[in-house]
């Protein structure tokens, strides 16, 4: 991995070319054209450092963790726990006891739904979410609310795709047990006022879960500055492997919560009469975890921080502004989601052309975009569209790639003329 010079000393073009050189997949072609990967909100590509670290793990220290006294198991355990500390630093948590490895953000949300929310919910209690959540931050709450006879309440979104603090305040009641809100919408790019939402909730004694799945690869995450109770994210959007994610939870909450799943590693002792639980965070990590994934996640976070969110953010801001202007200039194209605070996502529709057809046609030019409801059907309904096309940018994308998308959209227009 090359340590890229800060943006201040490199032109935007040089900076991104150096970043691109770290991602082997960006050299491939698709249907004879250079790959233009604009589906980063679904998953990001992996730098060579991450790919190498995966091979290094399996070729040098592969063993189960927290088990053996042998050299490999000790080394694997060391690396696994070092990665937990890497995650802790990435989100600025106080203690590694507060970092639980999960399969993904979805599993982390479910853990909180079943182990924090469910025992606290009674008939008539409420959980508050927003209208722009991903299905993973809707459905677990629906399930526990239904089981408890509780209500799921939804903060509305305005025409620009924004959430207003006042709407959260208006919907928080004495019955509200938890607020769950995204740090950045995967369908619209909106960045809600999360810090202020947490503050308002805490003034009323309500805990807050923040879904940082989309935000975590675009901007620094600081759980102590946010003051949130829980925060979730997933490794595969952080330029890391699939199958590894994490939950940050305030230690006092995690301590008071029952285990999520039972099995090996999460116990202190087992007998047929009674078992006792391991200490944090192991209480929540039943069974052999994705050891390689967790260890390699640390490499991915090292990679991100070697570039720095200042440079990443500035580059992605430029791409968003450039892409917004480009789409606005195409006749019949309408961007869905124009929040003042947004990042890296261009959701759009085109007059007379279904997004699915857009996706197929631009794919022929090597352009990968997502089309559909983006696991956010309520958002589609709110904006009165069955689906959108979505171009989502990451640090390695270029203005030239957005131009390729623009030309591909002209072809769409020609086909449907």
């Amino acid at each position: 991995m090359k340590a890229a010079a800060p943006l201040a000393t490199l032109s935007n073009t040089e900076w991104v070319q150096r970043v691109r050189a770290d991602f082997p997949i960006l050299e491939r072609t698709v249907r004879g054209r250079p790959l233009v990967y604009l589906d980063n909100a679904a998953t990001t590509q992996k730098p060579k450092a991450v790919l190498d670290a995966m091979a290094t793990y399996y070729t040098t220290i592969n063993a189960n963790v927290h088990r053996g006294v042998h050299e490999l198991s000790e080394r694997a355990t060391e690396a696994y726990e070092a990665s937990r500390d890497r995650v802790r630093r990435f989100v600025n948590a106080a203690s590694t006891h507060e970092i639980v490895f999960t399969r993904n953000a979805t599993e982390a949300i479910n853990l909180v739904a079943y182990c924090y929310a469910r025992p606290r919910l009674g008939p008539g209690d409420e959980i508050l979410i927003s209208a722009i959540e991903h299905h993973s931050n809707i459905v677990p709450w629906q399930i526990v609310c239904e089981a408890a006879g509780a209500r799921l309440k939804v903060v509305p979104v305005n025409d620009e795709g924004e959430l207003a603090l006042e709407d959260f305040q208006a919907l928080m009641t004495a019955r509200t047990k938890l607020v769950a809100v995204t740090h950045m919408s995967n369908a619209l790019g909106t960045i809600p006022p999360v810090r202020e939402i947490v503050k308002a909730a805490h003034e009323r004694g309500i805990a807050v879960l923040v879904d940082a799945s989309q935000a975590a690869y675009h901007m620094p995450i600081d759980v102590r500055a946010l003051d949130c109770d829980f925060l979730v994210a997933t490794g595969h959007k952080l330029y890391g492997p699939t199958g590894i994610g994490f939950l940050y939870g305030r230690e006092a909450h995690l301590e008071a919560m029952p285990p999520f799943m039972g099995g090996g590693d999460m116990i202190a002792s087992v007998s047929f009469e009674r078992s006792t639980w391991n200490v944090l965070p192991y209480k929540f990590e039943a069974g052999t975890p994705h050891i390689a994934g967790a260890i390699v996640l640390a490499t991915a976070l090292d990679y991100i921080e070697s570039l720095g969110f200042e440079a990443i953010g500035a580059h992605e801001r430029d791409l968003l502004d450039y892409g917004t202007a480009l789409l606005d200039a195409i006749d019949g194209v309408r961007i869905i989601g124009r929040a003042r605070h947004k990042a890296s996502i261009l959701s759009f529709v085109m007059d007379g052309v279904h997004p699915h057809d857009i996706g197929t046609i631009v794919d022929r030019d090597g352009v990968a975009i997502r089309t559909g409801h983006h696991c956010a059907q309520p958002v589609m309904e709110r904006f009165g569209v069955p689906a959108t096309a979505r171009a989502s940018m990451a640090m390695y994308n270029t203005r030239e790639e957005i131009d390729v998308l623009g030309r591909a959209l002209e072809r769409v227009r020609t086909v449907f003329a």
Binding site: H356, D357, T360, I361, R364, M380, V415
Partner: protein
């Protein structure tokens, strides 16, 4: 781009722009909803069956060009057919869109314009949605899904 031209043939674009039989059907004897969760395509199919013959057929909904054109052409092809004939046509259409792209397919007239989806595996569901909905309607199921 020849495969793209195969997919978006003029007849398909025409049925997408001006779908035939695109309305609810008063006095329908059968109806079903079709849904493709992958892309959110949704359609409702209406049949007016008298005896064993499809006297009238129509659809409503929102979807991509392929699913809309396929539904439109299907309704044209079904009018006046018996239930048995409709079932047989379903089987022939299904065979056409699932035959590997390098192999020849039976000529189904206008419906053959949809053979181009074979080059686009994820789009086969778009072309099939209306037909699966037809099956559901004829067997009195309320819903069809491509999943």
């Amino acid at each position: 781009m020849s495969d793209l031209n195969d997919l978006y043939q003029e007849v398909i674009l025409d049925h997408n722009r001006r779908p035939r039989n695109f309305h609810a059907l008063a006095g329908a004897s059968h109806s079903a909803e079709g849904y493709n969760p992958l892309c959110g395509d949704r359609l409702t199919l209406y049949l007016k069956v008298v005896g064993d013959r499809i006297e009238d057929v129509s659809f409503e909904g929102a979807g991509c060009a392929i699913s809309k054109a396929s539904a439109s052409m299907m309704t044209d092809a079904l009018k006046g057919r018996t239930i048995d004939e409709a079932n047989a046509l379903f089987a022939r259409f299904h065979a056409m869109v699932t035959t590997p792209p390098d192999q020849p397919v039976e000529d189904l007239g206008k419906l053959s314009s949809l053979a181009g989806v074979r080059e686009f595996p994820v789009r086969v569901k778009c072309a099939s949605l209306a037909w699966h909905t037809l099956k559901a309607a004829m067997s009195n199921e309320r819903r069809a899904s491509t999943e």
